[in-house]
């Protein structure tokens, strides 16, 4: 498959035609503008094609505009599988289960915070454990950890880390009922126990931002957001617990392909029939990791709030919290009928047209790369019809970490950010180039594509003033 073999459906939809000879069950669809098409890798096209070969896949194997080559599924991949004829694949969720984004909004204006940004970032850095091998400051017992796996963000509330309104403004209310710690290995618990309440490293961050530009005043108002308002974005996931749960099930499912006679084009796509015991076990374990991640972001929100209360006597409300690596049991309209499916989103965000807490489309939170703009969008009916209620999740890498390090220097990147009035704090300065804006696709172009396709409607732009890079 070459890029020129992609069939143009319209200016923003490119199709990989269904080829039953290579085992494709459905066509692939990639949402891209002409500019973004230049960044498309052959590896990503192959991965979209591979997903299209999995049993019970519905409609299309999708890739969002921030697509890039991953392992197994592409990053930016979305696929829905029939709950009877289809499969569940741990590789379709990834290792960082419920890696996601949360936005908190303060009542403060930019000019109240910006003069003290260095001090503020230093205080946040001290309060939130971050970086390589970061461990949480709270020690939980295995029994308590099981409660985290079962109850998600509800556990955090019960333990004083938030309020009811926080949960109301989380995807799935920060809790999946299907969490069951008996489906998790001792090792996953061992990895998860010391890390609860920690940011991690890599592309994870806590960013202080302000509302720089509003495109839809009414929706922004409904979400409680206004121009120049100071917000905080947290990007983190399920840490070692999620990584180990995925590892365990991926390993266990290696023999399932022959047991269930499922042809898989890549071992990372190992999967089991959606109606099997193994699938239920994985779904329970994955849900537990998702619950861990929501708890994690809730705890970090608490520490962010403590700092804002102490330093500015200001409160911070949860605007929303989205997962962008997850499998969900959802109902979607397929061929005129409402069907229950397992939607896998790997590097893709839910974009539902109805959110009970706001009465309109759900807030969709899209972080930019370090030091660039982030966006708040709103879920749409078109996303429900076009892509199982899904949209992009970020800018999407364009330079490998190695190439970024080779090309860009830490000091230069930090200086460049400083010139843009962004203060950055990290425990590992040599990693800075890996997350530099140049290592990513232009976020504005990604947002423009999802907005034009109406996979989500752009509401406002946030600009960073300070970052803690994990």
């Amino acid at each position: 498959m070459k890029i020129m073999d992609l069939k143009k459906v319209n200016d923003f939809i490119w199709e990989i035609e269904k080829d039953p000879l290579v085992g494709m069950r459905v066509p692939g669809r990639i949402f891209l503008s002409k500019t973004l098409l230049n960044f498309l890798e052959l590896g990503a096209i192959q991965q979209v094609t591979n997903v299209a070969k999995l049993p019970g896949i519905q409609k299309y194997s999708f890739a969002m505009p921030d697509v890039h080559t991953g392992y197994g599924f592409p990053i930016g991949g979305v696929a829905a599988f029939d709950i009877m004829e289809g499969i569940i694949s741990p590789g379709g969720v990834g290792f960082d289960i419920n890696c996601g984004t949360r936005l908190l909004a303060t009542g403060l204006k930019l000019e109240e915070v910006y003069p003290r940004i260095t001090e503020l970032i230093n205080k946040l850095y001290t309060s939130i454990p971050s970086g390589l091998g970061s461990k949480g400051s709270l020690k939980v017992s295995e029994k308590e950890l099981d409660q985290v796996f079962i109850n998600g963000a509800k556990w955090a509330l019960r333990n004083g880390y938030g309020n009811e309104s926080d949960l109301k403004h989380c995807e799935s209310n920060g809790h999946l009922e299907s969490g069951d710690p008996s489906k998790i290995s001792t090792l996953a618990k061992k990895r998860g126990m010391p890390q609860l309440g920690s940011l991690g490293s890599g592309n994870h961050f806590v960013e202080v931002q302000y509302v720089a530009e509003i495109y839809n005043k009414d929706v922004a108002h409904t979400f409680g957001l206004w121009e120049n308002q100071v917000c905080i974005m947290i990007h983190s996931g399920s840490r070692g617990a999620g990584h180990q749960i995925c590892t365990d099930y991926l390993r266990a499912f290696q023999s399932a392909a022959s047991k269930y006679n499922i042809q898989i084009p890549d071992k990372q796509l190992a999967c089991v029939p959606a109606d099997s015991t193994e699938a239920n076990d994985y779904f329970s374990a994955m849900s537990s990791a998702a619950n861990y991640a929501w708890t994690n972001r809730q705890m970090m929100s608490f520490w962010v709030r403590e700092v804002f209360e102490r330093e500015f006597n200001a409160k911070a409300n949860v605007v929303y919290d989205v997962a962008h690596n997850i499998a969900k049991l959802e109902k979607h309209k397929i061929d005129g009928e409402t069907k229950e499916v397992y939607v896998h989103r790997k590097g893709a965000t839910r974009s539902f047209d109805k959110d009970p807490s706001y009465g309109i489309g759900q807030p969709v939170l899209i972080p930019g790369s370090m030091g660039t703009s982030s966006y708040v969008l709103c879920g749409t009916k078109d996303a429900m019809e076009m892509a199982f209620g899904s949209t992009c999740h970020g800018a999407g890498r364009v330079l490998s970490r190695k190439a970024a390090k080779h090309k860009l220097g830490s000091k230069e990147v930090m200086e460049e950010l400083r010139q843009k009035n962004v203060f950055i704090k990290t425990g590992n300065i040599s990693d800075i180039p890996e997350e530099a804006p140049e290592a990513y696709k232009p976020i504005d172009e990604v947002i423009s594509v999802v907005n034009k396709l109406n996979l989500s409607e752009v509401v406002l732009k946030l600009k960073p003033i300070g970052v803690i890079k994990g």
Binding site: F95, S201, H243, R251, K402
Partner: protein, 146 residues
């Protein structure tokens, strides 16, 4: 192609290849034991600067599996766990692969943040295109999620 890591007799042991989002390396070996040793060192070198790691203590690993690929996956996962859960960095691997089982002596020391330089947090070893190839020598491509 990345910087080669040459072993004794200037034989290439592993090298890092381009991957947009994650880390991809290719390890080599004259036999499976060597291939497993070199793969593990490649993984270790992603997580920590090995120059300061002393082979002071030994951790023993025994594994048994059904295929070579599954055995390699289990082995690398075990090395990752020693690093993350036991904070044990490994300087030298002595692996013996027999059929689809292995025994290994891993010489290293407890990670000390003052002495050692941590590099990248590896989330997991993936199965992406994991295939051991014998073409005279053995080689394997391993993708790490970072």
């Amino acid at each position: 192609m990345g910087a080669d890591t040459l072993g004794k007799k200037n034989v290439r042991r592993y090298e890092f290849l381009e991957h947009t989002a994650d880390v991809l390396f290719r390890a080599y070996g004259n036999n499976l034991s060597e291939l497993f040793e070199n793969s593990a060192e490649a993984l270790e070198s992603v997580m920590i600067d090995l120059t300061n790691v002393a082979p002071k203590d030994i951790k023993h690993v025994d594994l048994s599996s059904d295929t070579y690929e599954n055995l390699l996956f289990d082995w690398l996962a075990a090395v990752l766990i020693l690093f993350e859960v036991e904070s044990f960095a490994i300087r030298r691997f002595n692996v013996n692969v027999k059929a689809t089982s292995l025994t290994a002596d891993c010489s290293g020391e407890k990670i000390n943040s003052k002495k050692h330089k941590l590099k990248i947090e590896v989330k997991a070893v993936t199965y992406h295109e994991l295939e051991i190839v014998k073409n005279g020598m053995y080689h394997v491509n391993v993708t790490l999620d970072v």
